[in-house]
């Protein structure tokens, strides 16, 4: 039987259409994810602005309320997880991802500063870690550090871990880096404003670096979220 070329072309067109549809749907869902992260970031920004405005209006904060409703921690953790997932899927060089990371980093810095202020005003003891990682080829153990910090964050819900992509082109982040005198090698962590600690630390070593952990409540029923 002679080959019917029309059928070959038709099958090619249909298969190509199926492929194009798969790419289109996947891309649309990725865009929905970006929109979801953006919306969460906007919510965080509003909450931060609200707390700052409240502070400016009253000249002080309601410390009891702050203690009962810790600001943003959960939302920031959620967004960290989502951003990590999006970065993994879309690539760390994706423009949308970079934009969201910048916004996320800004929110982290604002939250960090606000928490410093709250800590001073309300005389609360907070434990914070500034974690600097790199997506460039200069940090082979950043992923492992992230695992350790994720574990700690899950175990100690009151521990605030702020993670920053060292090479992110963001002036506020560069200022923070310069103020804290972080230069590498990576990963680098700053625990409760102490001097930066460079290089990978496993769980045991990291716990030894943070004696304040003993003052924090711990849980074993944590969710499987990841620090970035």
């Amino acid at each position: 039987m002679k080959a019917d070329w029309t059928k070959y072309v038709l099958a090619f067109l249909i298969t190509t259409t199926i492929f194009a549809t798969a790419f289109y749907i996947a891309s649309n869902i990725d865009q929905s994810r970006i929109a979801d992260i953006r919306a969460t970031e906007q919510n965080i920004a509003i909450d931060l602005l609200s707390t700052e405005t409240q502070f400016e209006l009253l000249g002080s904060l309601d410390c009891e309320a702050i203690k009962e409703n810790p600001i943003l921690s959960d939302q920031l953790n959620t967004i960290a997880d989502r951003l990590a997932y999006a970065e993994n899927n879309l690539g760390s060089d994706n423009e949308e991802v970079i934009r969201l990371k910048k916004q996320y980093s800004l929110l982290e810095i604002k939250d960090y500063l606000l928490m410093q202020e709250i800590s001073q005003k309300c005389k609360t003891k907070t434990v914070s870690i500034l974690y600097f990682y790199s997506n460039a080829d200069d940090c082979s153990s950043c992923a492992r550090s992230a695992e350790v910090l994720t574990y700690l964050r899950e175990t100690y819900p009151d521990l605030r871990v702020y993670s920053f992509d060292y090479h992110l082109d963001l002036s506020a982040l560069k200022t923070l880096i310069s103020l804290r005198k972080v230069d590498g090698p990576f990963p680098a962590v700053i625990i409760n404003n102490r001097a930066p600690v460079y290089g990978f630390r496993n769980l045991e070593e990291m716990q030894a670096l943070i004696p304040e952990l003993k003052t924090l409540a711990s849980t074993t029923a944590a969710t499987s979220t990841k620090a970035r």
Binding site: M1, K2, A3, D4, K7, Y8, L10, A11, F12, I14, T15, I18, F19, T21, A22, F23, I25, A26, I29, D30, R33, D36, R82, Y85, N89, D137, S141, R144, E147, V148, T150, Y151, E154, F200, N202, L203, E204, A222, T223, S224
Partner: protein
């Protein structure tokens, strides 16, 4: 980083494999829509040509009597049907059973010969037969009573048809492995019918393939053909531009391997046979002179073979890399992963392009399976479909890899 780039590059290969698989299935679906299989009718053939049914056997004492009986029960004039039992040097009780059956039934003839392989048994029978049609029925298969009538009707419809292949179903599937093969055969029924539409049938399997006797004087007798004489004869018939047809209303039931070991052995022989016959008939590959057989069946048969191997290697590497990474991670960080229920948050659902393409391939395969079931009036249940999609894909790479090595080393595959 290099590893990441490597995997990114390797994933393009998976896209190519998925494209080829989808293209092939879409092509078959178009063929189905173009020409749907006709329903079975109660009409009778205009005449009843003489038929010799050959039963080549080697140590088949468990199933031989039932096979011969199923042939004797065929709805066909007894004076037009002879059964030639060719014992290819059996060492079990096959001889006694064959001789007993021949003594009891006038149209059963038993021959014993030295072991020389199935193709020698078939040629032995063809030489001793003068019937217009010559068929073969493996000694582990059984036919539906009207199967021969349906085949003869097909020969009647078109005098240019020189060989007919029936619908093959699994005989009495019970175990998970057997029901898996039942689903696979059902998919095969669809594929075979579509190959028929395209004039590109690539194999005339042992169970109840029937030939016009004249075809052997044109194309020659059966050959050793790397232990896949049923495939080689189909290649040769296609080479001569002769017509092979599928009688989708003629049902034959075959016994399938009941252990993974025998299944792998059987499929290795089939797959290796395809690769080695393809080498012998390389000039037909991608050659439009041989129609859809040269353009679609051979190239896609080879492409899907390598595609399946490639995808297996890709996913095995991914699993291996993930496991290694998890173990190293525990050792280095001291953090043990926590057990948690999978999240139901839509954000984390796998919605990659590969997932959608895999889903599309799965849906089209399922459609082909349903259509195959309708053609053959076969019911298949959830375990059957489940095992086909999941267990099959775990076992199949084993025989694909073995066949590849066997073909590369030009090693002879074994029958049992």
């Amino acid at each position: 980083m290099l590893q990441y780039v490597g995997m990114e590059f390797a994933s393009y290969g998976v896209y190519i494999c998925l494209f080829l698989a989808l293209y092939f299935e879409v092509f078959l679906l178009i063929s189905f829509l173009e020409k749907r299989p006709a329903k079975k009718t109660g009409t009778l053939p205009s005449r009843y040509p003489s038929v010799s049914m050959v039963v080549p056997c080697f140590n088949e004492d468990k199933t031989l009597a039932a096979t011969i009986t199923s042939l004797l029960n065929l709805e066909y004039p007894k004076d037009k049907l002879e059964v030639l039992v060719i014992d290819d040097g059996s060492t079990d009780n096959t001889r006694t059973i064959g001789e007993e059956m021949a003594a009891r039934h006038a149209n059963v003839k038993y021959f014993y010969k030295e072991n020389g392989g199935k193709y020698t048994a078939l040629n032995f029978a063809i030489e001793r037969s003068s019937s217009e049609l010559v068929g073969c029925l493996d000694a582990d298969s059984f036919v539906e009573r009207d199967a021969l009538l349906e085949v003869v009707k097909k020969f009647d419809e078109d005098t240019s048809t020189c060989a007919i292949v029936p619908v093959m179903k699994v005989h009495n599937p019970k175990t998970l492995l057997e029901v898996m093969q039942a689903a696979e055969y059902t998919f095969g029924i669809f594929v075979k019918k579509m190959f028929d539409n395209l004039g590109a049938i690539s194999v005339l399997p042992g169970p109840f393939s029937i030939y016009r006797r004249d075809v052997f004087s044109i194309v020659g007798p059966f050959r050793h053909a790397h232990n896949t004489e049923d495939m080689e004869i189909a290649f040769r018939i296609q080479k001569h531009g002769l017509k092979i047809v599928n009688a989708h209303t003629a049902f034959v039931y075959t016994t399938v391997p009941s252990s993974v070991r025998t299944l792998v052995k059987q499929r290795t022989r089939w797959t290796q046979g395809f690769l080695q016959n393809l080498q012998d008939y390389w000039f037909m590959f991608g050659n439009p002179r041989f129609g859809n057989f040269g353009l679609l069946v051979l190239p896609f048969g080879l492409a899907l073979f390598f595609g399946a191997l490639y995808m297996t290697a890709f996913f095995l590497y991914q699993i291996f890399a993930s496991l290694t990474n998890a173990i190293v991670s525990i050792a280095v960080t001291g953090v043990y992963p926590r057990l948690a229920w999978p999240t139901l948050d839509w954000f984390y659902f796998d919605t990659s392009v590969m997932t959608f393409l895999g889903g599309a391939t799965l849906i089209i395969t399922l459609t082909a399976l349903i259509l195959g079931g309708r053609i053959a009036k076969t019911d298949f249940n959830i375990p059957s479909v489940f095992s086909y999609f999941f267990i099959y894909s775990l076992i199949a790479p084993v025989w694909l890899a073995r066949a590849f090595v066997g073909a590369a080393l030009a090693r002879e595959s074994s029958w049992r």
